[in-house]
């Protein structure tokens, strides 16, 4: 029997690995998820069979409550609220692991320094941090508290002190340092660990929360693994390790996607409310976006208008631009090119470039033809253009007053690809950069465009 249960556990561990692997590709992901849930069922059934259950009612009540809550939440929640939902689920998972460890401790408060003791402490710590951390992340995303980083002077040293305190309390609970009642020490330890979870997450901005959730997810895996060590259960150890490792890799991938390091996310105090980034350049804040974000902005809409400017010519990025256009069209996006009469540095400059890249003439529209369309355009991609989309031309006092401009600000989303916030030929600042619905995609147009090609291709 024992052997049989172990084999079922092993099978379920293998199925977890396979399921997780299948989640990597959109084509197999759904099946992978099903496989993982099957594995979970196997593990649970094996456990139930293996364990002499004392209080069926209690267990059934727990399962019923949890299942109901989870199921309803999963069904009801808006698609846009997914990240916070995942976050809170994760918090419960971490909490459960912590509770397992806590229960073990309460069963034997004098366990003392030793394998079991240490693993109990690790399980409790990680589980507790995951629990409260996840709730804070949830609150930030759900708008229950400010999405801005909450910082105070000396924050990092303070957090360090709390962390060391937790370690000390853990040791103390195992009877190492203090000789107080271990149970009391343990509760204090637990409380501090819960506090630590809050402290770790509050200085991180709402926009970085998905990364935090992914990291906490990795933690909850480790907590499960620790719980496995506590009760000596292989499937817990394996699955937990699996989630711990894959979660960490995933977190790194997400950071890489944001062009940030994990440390930067954790200690940066960045990520204000909605991706706004008070970067170095310019006085006024702009919203930045990277290739991945821009690809998503362009790839899932109906209509995109590209506005090429002198920067496109300088970067000689016309071939890459063409590629992006083609890819978007393959996805069913309607792509047009708006050519401003004085874009570039000579009459017809943009025509020469686009002809070189063999962009079909019937996709080119001049100012008069396209200006009224911007209102119904989903996204505008401005490539190295500046003056020709500068709304200050509408201000009679501006030195470019009277120049007709492309009214790209009427579009739902404006993405501007240039190297910096430097002005163009006319030498004046551009209000468009700072608008609510504008994303700045900084970089040399050729490089940025090449990145964009890659990212658009990756879109599902």
């Amino acid at each position: 029997m024992e052997t049989f249960i172990e084999l079922v556990y092993l099978l379920s561990a293998v199925l977890f690995v396979v399921g997780l692997k299948r989640l990597q590709s959109p084509a197999t992901a759904r099946g992978g998820n099903a496989l993982a849930s099957l594995a979970m069922l196997l593990a649970i059934v094996a456990t139930v069979v293996d364990t002499e259950i004392l209080t069926w009612t209690g267990i059934l009540v727990g399962v019923a409550i949890g299942g109901l809550l989870g199921g309803v939440a999963a069904r009801r929640v808006e698609m846009t609220d997914m990240p916070q939902l995942v976050g809170i689920f994760n918090g419960f998972g971490g909490g459960a692991s912590a509770l397992v460890a806590i229960a073990e401790f309460t069963a034997n408060p004098t366990v003392g320094m030793g394998t079991t003791g240490v693993t109990i402490m690790i399980g409790t710590l990680i589980g507790a941090v995951t629990f409260t951390g996840s709730f804070v992340a949830f609150a930030k995303l759900q708008g229950l508290m400010t999405g801005n980083p909450i910082t105070f002077p000396g924050q990092n040293p303070f957090n360090l002190v709390v962390f060391l305190g937790v370690i000390f309390l853990a040791a103390a609970s195992l009877g190492v340092a203090l000789s107080a009642d271990p149970m009391v020490l343990f509760w204090i330890f637990l409380g501090t660990a819960l506090l630590l979870g809050v402290l770790i997450v509050i200085p991180i901005g709402g926009a970085d929360m998905p990364v935090v959730i992914s990291l906490l997810n990795s933690y909850s895996g480790l907590a499960a693994s620790a719980a496995g060590f506590v009760i000596g259960n292989m499937v817990l150890i394996i699955s937990g390790a699996l989630v711990g490792a894959s979660g960490l890799i995933l977190t790194q991938l997400m950071c890489k996607g944001m062009n940030r390091s994990l440390a930067n996310v954790a200690f940066g105090g960045f990520g204000g409310s909605a991706g706004v980034d008070r970067a170095q350049i310019g006085q006024r804040p702009v919203r930045r976006a990277d290739a991945e974000a821009v690809a998503a902005e362009l790839g899932y809409v109906n209509s995109v208008v590209v506005v090429p400017g002198y920067g496109l010519a300088v970067a000689q990025a016309q071939h890459e631009l063409r590629k992006v256009g083609d890819l978007l069209e393959q996805r069913g996006v309607d792509v047009k090119y708006a050519i401003h009469p004085v874009a570039g540095r000579m009459p017809g400059h943009m025509n020469v470039l686009l002809a070189e890249a063999d962009v079909s003439y019937d996709k080119l529209f001049d100012l008069d033809e396209i200006n009224s369309d911007f209102g119904s355009t989903d996204a505008v991609l401005v490539v190295g253009a500046n003056d020709v989309v500068n709304p200050s031309a509408r201000d009679p006092d501006s030195i470019i007053a009277g120049m007709p401009i492309l009214d790209v600000d009427a579009a739902r989303r404006v993405i501007i690809m240039k190297r910096s916030l430097s002005p163009g030929f006319a030498g004046i600042d551009n209000d468009l950069f700072y608008m609510e619905h504008t994303l700045m995609f900084f970089g040399d147009a050729k490089d940025s465009m090449a990145d964009l090609v890659r990212e658009v291709r990756e879109l599902a």
């Binding site: 000689q316 000579m346 017809g348 400059h349 020469v352 002809a355 030195i399 120049m403």
Partner: protein
């Protein structure tokens, strides 16, 4: 107010100052338009289209100009026989290329007839005035055509060909002066497959040249002379010598040279000496777009093609007139936009010399020469 357009009398001129689309705009602004019959024919605008657009046809220039408050021209009306200037009524507004810095007599005559003369050359190169900038639009035509002309004259192919009958190397083109016309020449020569190098004395141009996929001829030491309003200034003697050395080095390998260097109000700088011409391969082609203002090449003769040391040196005159349909369309758009600056709501005319375009562009008014630059040039 009656706006008149007559057939251009300059020999070889095929353009017209106003095309039928322009007529409609002027009518909408409250003006009336009379055109001389046949004036647009060579520019792809037959009389019917003018009539359709709402213009009145006139059988002769006299008839067209009689009573006109505003006259639109490309080339300045001639003083000589037939004296076109004489047909303009006193106080009329004339919009045209006038070459005010190069042709003082004409300006004095215009002033003395109390004509309000607005010079297309004097439209300032500010952002707002780009759509009135006929110098640019016509230079675009000239640059394009210069490259075509070079390709047509060259006894070689421009692009590279790898064929069963051997490999043809691409032709090399050198563009001197990369302003509006020069840039367009670069783009067109590149389109045709030539390998293009270019040089200009304004430092901003390097990036622009490279943005067209051509290479910029780089001097060991800087050769620069940035003037006002985006134009070049004259080079110091020392700098000029350096420039000549630079060009002498590059020109030997060139099959095609197109020069466009100009400095407003002065003779065109000499960029190609006879020595340099001699150093080129026989059969090569030099197109000197500055020939009308003295030429960038020592052996250029305006309006002619001379074979000098086996090299064809072409000094074309009035290239825009060789692409009359589009050159006229663009000129017409420029001049109509400029007229828009003069018209009040309802069709009346108001000359606002504080207007940042009208002010600088007006050369004579009320019997006076009102433009400071022109005045001081005339006095000098």
């Amino acid at each position: 107010m009656k706006v008149a357009v007559v057939k251009e009398t300059r020999p070889g001129e095929a353009r017209v100052a106003l095309v039928p689309q322009g007529v409609q705009v002027l009518l909408k602004a409250g003006l009336s338009v009379t055109v001389e019959a046949g004036c647009g024919l060579s520019a792809g605008a037959p009389d019917e289209e003018y009539v359709e657009a709402g213009a009145t046809l006139a059988g002769s220039p006299e008839e067209a100009l009689a009573g006109a408050g505003m006259v639109l021209h490309i080339n300045a009306p001639s003083l000589a026989d037939p004296d076109e200037l004489g047909l303009l009524g006193e106080g009329a507004i004339l919009l045209s290329f006038l070459d005010p810095l190069g042709n003082p007599d004409r300006i004095r005559a215009l002033a003395s007839r109390r004509i309000t003369a607005i010079s297309m050359e004097m439209v300032p190169r500010i952002t707002r005035a780009q759509s009135m900038d006929a110098l640019s639009s016509q230079a675009t035509v000239a640059g394009y055509k210069a490259a075509l002309m070079a390709a047509d004259s060259l006894p070689k192919f421009l692009p590279m060909f790898t064929t069963a009958a051997g490999t043809i190397r691409p032709a090399k083109a050198l563009i001197l002066g990369a302003g509006v016309a020069g840039l367009q020449a670069i783009a067109t020569a590149r389109r045709l497959g030539a390998v293009v190098e270019a040089f200009d004395v304004r430092p901003a141009v390097k990036e622009q040249v490279e943005s067209l996929g051509a290479t910029f001829l780089e001097a060991d030491e800087e050769v620069t002379a940035e003037g006002e309003g985006g134009y070049a200034a004259e080079l110091s003697e020392d700098q000029h010598k350096k420039e000549l050395e630079l060009i002498a080095g590059a020109i030997k390998a060139a099959d095609i040279v197109i020069t466009t260097a100009q400095i407003p109000g002065r003779e065109a700088p000499l960029l190609i000496t006879e020595e340099m011409v001699k150093s080129m391969r026989p059969g090569s082609v030099i197109i000197d777009l500055a020939s009308e203002s003295g030429g960038n090449c020592a052996t250029t003769r305006m309006g002619e093609t001379v074979i000098s040391h086996g090299v064809q040196v072409i000094g074309p005159v009035n290239l825009p007139a060789t692409i009359p349909v589009h050159a006229s369309q663009m000129y017409s758009k420029n001049i109509v936009t400029l007229v828009g600056e003069l018209v009040k709501e309802g069709g009346g005319i108001e000359l606002d010399f504080d207007n940042d375009v009208v002010g600088p562009a007006t050369v004579t008014h009320g019997g006076e020469i009102v433009n400071e630059r022109v005045k001081s040039a005339l006095e000098a």
